[in-house]
Structure formats: C-alpha cells, structure tokens
C-alpha cells in the first residue's frame, strides 16, 4: 500500500518569458497520474499563467494556457492564487481562466478549482504539505 502525500507545486514565474511555467504544468500532469493529493499555488508573476485570452500565435510558441483547464479531469482541483499578488498587478479573479472540476462526492456538481487566498492563508497551506516543488 502506498501512502498518499500532499504535494504543493509553487509557481512564481510569468508564462512565456521562461520555460518554468510549462515545465511545472508538465510535472503536475505527470504527478497527477500517481494519485497523490496535489495542490497548486500561484504567487508573484505566477498569477499571469492563469490569464484569460492568451494567444501566442504572434510569437510562435506553444499556447499551453488551455491545458490548465484539463487539471480538473486529473483530480487537480486545489488551485490557490495569492490575493496580494493579484492586487499588485491590478488583476482579479475575473481576469483568470475559469477552472472547474466535477465533485464526485457531490453528485458530480461542477465547482470552482481556483481559490483566492490571502498571504496568511497561503502560509498555512504551505506549512501543511509533505512535499513542495518550486517553479
């Protein structure tokens, strides 16, 4: 019997200026296949990864922003976005991708995956993990 551990992936980079965001997303999807308790945190410029309406056709790179919508299907439905990071960038939840999942414990009701959390709440979340991956 394997033990289920709590994994937190911490994302602090903007999406297209470096490879960090795409690499993180790929690692999350691979990790999700191992049935662990996975959560994602978006802090600092990491919040830009979840921006709506990204269109990379003009810069000829892969537009991986739509892949975040698949997280719910992989039972990755704890997505924490730091409120202070959004505010510093003039953003709110309305500017972010509407990420959802279907809750099997609640008759498959569609629910929000994104939770906007304060720094204080996020520090408790970070404190409560078994493993933390930083990108």
């Amino acid at each position: 019997m394997s033990v289920i551990k709590k994994f937190l992936y911490v994302n602090r980079r903007a999406p297209h200026g470096s490879i960090y965001a795409l690499e993180s997303l790929e690692v999350v999807l691979i990790g999700a296949a191992f049935d662990q308790d996975v959560a994602l945190a978006f802090i600092d410029d990491g919040v830009y990864q979840l921006m709506l309406n990204q269109d990379t056709s003009g810069i000829a790179t892969k537009n991986f922003s739509s892949t975040y919508k698949a997280l719910g299907d992989y039972d990755v439905n704890k997505i924490y976005v730091e409120k202070e990071s959004l505010e510093m960038r003039g953003l709110s939840k309305e500017n972010l991708l509407p990420l959802t999942y279907e809750d099997e414990d609640d008759d498959w009701a569609e629910k929000d995956s994104i939770q906007i959390v304060t720094s204080a709440e996020l520090s408790d979340i970070i404190d409560n993990q078994d493993l933390i991956f930083s990108f």
Binding site: A14, G17, D44, Q54, I59, N63, M88, R89
Partner: protein, 102 residues
C-alpha cells in the same frame, strides 16, 4: 541622436524597468517586450512609473507579446503606442542605437 531602450523583464521580478527609467535621457524611447509588457497595464503597483515615463519618453509595447500574455489592449496605460515586429525593426532604424536592459 537618441537611444531606443528595450526592456524584456517583468517589473515585478527584476529592476530593469527602474534602472532603465533612471538612466534613459529625456526624449529617448522605451520599448516594452516579452515579460516587460506587464508594466504597460493600468492599475498595477508600477503604473505610476509608466505614467511618468510617457511624459519623458516615447513608450512603446510589442503587441504580439501583449496578445500572448492575454493582456487586453483596453487595459494599457494611456500614452503607450503599440508596435508589431515590423514596427520594432522600424524603431531600431530610426534611433541612433539600442540598449537592451536584460
């Protein structure tokens, strides 16, 4: 004779914007590309710096980089001009030199 200053790093991650604006002479141009385009949005913690910069400099932002990052044109600070890649090349030819604040 005037310089085209190019910034490609997020103002929230690096101090390239600050250093550029501190050292760029009045009348020179500032072009925001790649992650630096986040500085062009209204209501951010650095918007005051760009508000001041558009008075002292001609400020441009690269449109394909805005689109890639989902930054809506309606949220861009007044006074910033958008350019495409052809416009980028045109600017490089118009100024006496370029300085990239990596």
């Amino acid at each position: 004779m005037s310089v085209l200053h190019i910034i490609n790093k997020s103002p929230f991650e690096k101090n390239s914007l600050d250093t550029c604006l501190r050292l760029a002479k009045k009348g020179s141009a500032v072009l925001l590309i790649e992650d630096a385009i986040y500085a062009a949005q209204k209501n951010t913690a650095v918007a005051d710096k760009i508000d001041a910069a558009v008075i002292k400099h001609t400020v441009y932002a690269l449109e394909p980089d805005l689109d890639a990052r989902g930054v809506d044109k309606s949220t861009i600070i007044d006074g910033i001009s958008l350019v495409d890649y052809d416009g980028f090349v045109q600017l490089a030819t118009e100024y006496s030199g370029t300085q990239s604040w990596l």
